[in-house]
Amino acid sequence: MRCSGLVDDTVTVLIGGEAGQGISRSGMLLGKAMMRGGFYSYGAIDYPSLIRGGHNFYTVRGSSRKVYANSGKLDLVVALNRESVFRHMDEINPGGGIIYDEKEAISDEELSRKDINFYPVPLSDVVKELGGPSIMRNTVALGSVSALVGLDVNILNELISETFEGRDKIISMNVEAIQKGWESVIEFNYGFKCTIEAGGRKERLWLTGNEAVALGAQAAGCNFFAAYPMTPASAVLHYYAGHDEETDSVVVQTESEIAAMCMIVGASYAGVRAMTSTSGGGFCLMTEALSMAAIQENPVVIMLGQRPGPSTGLATYSAQGDLLFAVFGAHGEFQRIVLAPGDAEECFYLTTEAFNLAERFQIPVIILPDKEIIESHETVEVFDVSKVDIIRGSLLREWEGGEYLRFKFTENGVSPRVIPGTPNAMVLANSNEHTERGFGTSVSEAARLMVDKRFRKGEHIRRATSMLSPIKSYGSDDPEITMVGWGSTKGPALETIGLLSGQGVKARYVQIRIMEPFPDGLMEYLSGETVLFENNRTASLGTLIKLNTGYKFENMGLRYDGRSLTPNEMVSKVMEVLG
């Protein structure tokens, strides 16, 4: 196994073109092929909110070491249209190349960079010759990519066969397309210096954060999923809908996010593990019913996949602008847990924990990733299911204890939760403040006691979340600079640690993984100079940290154009801070 890029130990390929040209699919395929070749990769899609046209690109970066983020620089570009050649030419490392359709007949003058290679490939002609649909041009291009970087085409062929299983004609056509693409560049000796030769195959997973959340929910036994489609969170719904039969799940595409939230409250009341997924706008609609879940102590799990707002904002891009909304949103005072995974692996494991926390404490749990995590692909080690416990708390299926009190006062604030339908127990949940039995009340003493009962869970919730590594630290034990952030910033931050180390700077990244209850002990992690990195304009995490610890960051790197921070940007900011 060998991977050497033009500037480091990674190889980055960008596939660009119009929406509808199969960009995401071929990028995804290339990343998966790299994984099968024994490599790690990271793949991100950049697309405007439209179905045809526009400019889309998928960037996949592979290496024999774990890849956490894209670098912002490219080794090879596959341009499925003319525009992509010129859009990305300047981002290519010297020695890199562009594969483009020969029929674009781009003149030598237009190909202005003399330090990169140009590979005109008859993408359209090959497809025409094979009699395939024009979307197959990207398959031809993948063959060319394989030839240039030395990736074994058999892996691609194998993936094609799996994708189109049972459709032999399509398979053979695509396999031939790959071969033609391969042949059309292999004879040129342009001295392309990137290599990603397969070796040591190992079983890993290549998936998005959305898929990891869905798998986490499945592993947790969540068998009721109700949601309304909203970018970037729809893929969790897609997964559930596509696997309802084999997972025995009930999946409803609801008429609105309000309905989705109400449905999971109802399902949870009835005793099943229930979840919804949405983005900020949808979460706005859910907050009234979130508050209902809280007063009724019905455990629910919500994935809030962030994108830039306000309002429709940048619908298909990434942001970390909903942190305070997730922590504080909805009327009235109640306890909740907000988990903020930093990559696909954390999406899986934190989602499994979300259900346990929700049921143990009978409260809402919000999983708060951002678009960059949930729509990007990542190679991860196969999730260890033996680490996943299913803890249902005080759920009961039998009752013989006389009159059942759904909201019985207990020492830890958690009351026995009987499944409705259980003989001799009538389960009454109430959105009004209520008595232990569940009857509405406006009596002063009764109200105060019930509020106190719910809040007695607080210390127990805090103890439980403190066991889940709410703060994680990466990099140097004795840093000159401590970077602090959350969510998808983890990826570029880990790349940044490596880059800084190459420049002789000892750096640490501190990741906050649980936002509510805010973890204790953050100060112990801050060492040397500090800098806060976030994908927002107002430093929401900074606000939360100041609120909880009093600490105020002097240095901040904030990006709020819908794109993630790049490692190079972060390095520059750190250098600026260190002077």
Partner: protein, 282 residues
């Protein structure tokens, strides 16, 4: 009357309110159908009707304004052995909650939806409701409402409901008979209950209804004829029909879900073959 559905909660409805009849009809129907208290769930919204969950000794969930249907639908999907009855006021069901109505209907979720239709907002002290007659004078329509009234029955019929009915609290045994049919119906069953609000609605009173309501059953109505049902549903004024306007047999929503063929969801195992699910990502 059997006391097994009674609760110790103090009732705060106005004396003479039609809600008492609705409560009693439901209790008596449960009793006659021999439904154990833990086998049924009452789901309520916000408004005077919403207190019903305190007064009926079955499982209950008092929800938020307008959201009875999605909560009820999910309960039915999670445990389809439960008898799920949704209760909503006219404001709850047809103002804030109307968005859910067509969807619960078109899904044909197997539940009974009882509208406490008093043509006014009671708990918030007398504002115009979506079912208030055009021209109705209230605090919020001092010159008379200039919005046309929503007709629950035609709404249900156009969304292709499989059971559409109306009852009147002044006709106790007829109401009970309609409710029994609704509960027995496999699919979405609407029971629009005409109910005077004695505190705020001085127009649609017991007196008003007594002289107008007539039973469809006594007119030889064919409840399998959708066109006829629609015509009858449009009828309002000197003559107000009650009874079962329309019914048809269609599979209830839950039958679409493969998982529910294995029994109620709440009893199913939670562990999945994750290794199998991982395979597509390898």
């Amino acid at each position: 009357m059997s006391k097994r559905y009674d609760t110790p909660a103090t009732n705060t409805w106005c004396p003479g309110c039609g809600n008492f009849t609705i409560l009693n009809v439901v209790k008596q129907t449960f009793d006659e159908m021999n439904i154990d208290p833990w086998e049924a769930v009452a789901v309520t919204g916000i408004g005077c009707h919403g207190k019903l969950t305190d007064y009926i000794g079955v499982n209950g969930i008092h929800t938020i304004h307008g959201r009875v249907l999605p909560v009820s639908s999910a309960i039915k999907l999670a445990n389809h052995e439960l008898k799920v009855l949704g209760f909503a006021g006219d404001g709850d069901a047809f103002n804030i909650g109307i968005g859910h109505f067509a969807h619960a209907v078109r899904r044909n979720v197997d539940l009974t939806y009882i509208i406490h239709n008093n043509l006014i907002y009671g708990l918030t002290t007398g504002q115009t409701s979506p079912t208030s007659t055009k021209g109705y004078v209230s605090k919020t329509s001092p010159r008379g409402s200039w919005e046309k009234a929503i007709n629950p029955l035609t709404q249900a019929l156009t969304a292709r409901a499989t059971f559409v009915s109306r009852a009147y609290v002044g006709e106790f045994s007829h109401f009970k008979d309609v409710l029994k049919q609704a509960i027995n119906h496999e699919g979405f069953a609407l029971v629009d209950v005409l109910q005077p609000c004695i505190s705020w609605n001085k127009v649609n009173t017991y007196e008003f209804y007594r002289n107008r309501v007539f039973k469809l059953e006594e007119t030889g109505h064919n409840s399998e004829d959708w066109d006829l049902a629609y015509l009858r549903a449009e009828q309002w004024g000197d003559q107000i029909p009650i009874g079962v306007f329309y019914k048809s047999d269609e599979p209830p929503y839950r039958e679409n879900f493969p998982a529910l063929k294995k029994g109620k969801l709440v009893n199913q195992p939670l562990r999945r073959d994750m290794e199998k699910l991982f395979r597509e990502f390898m």
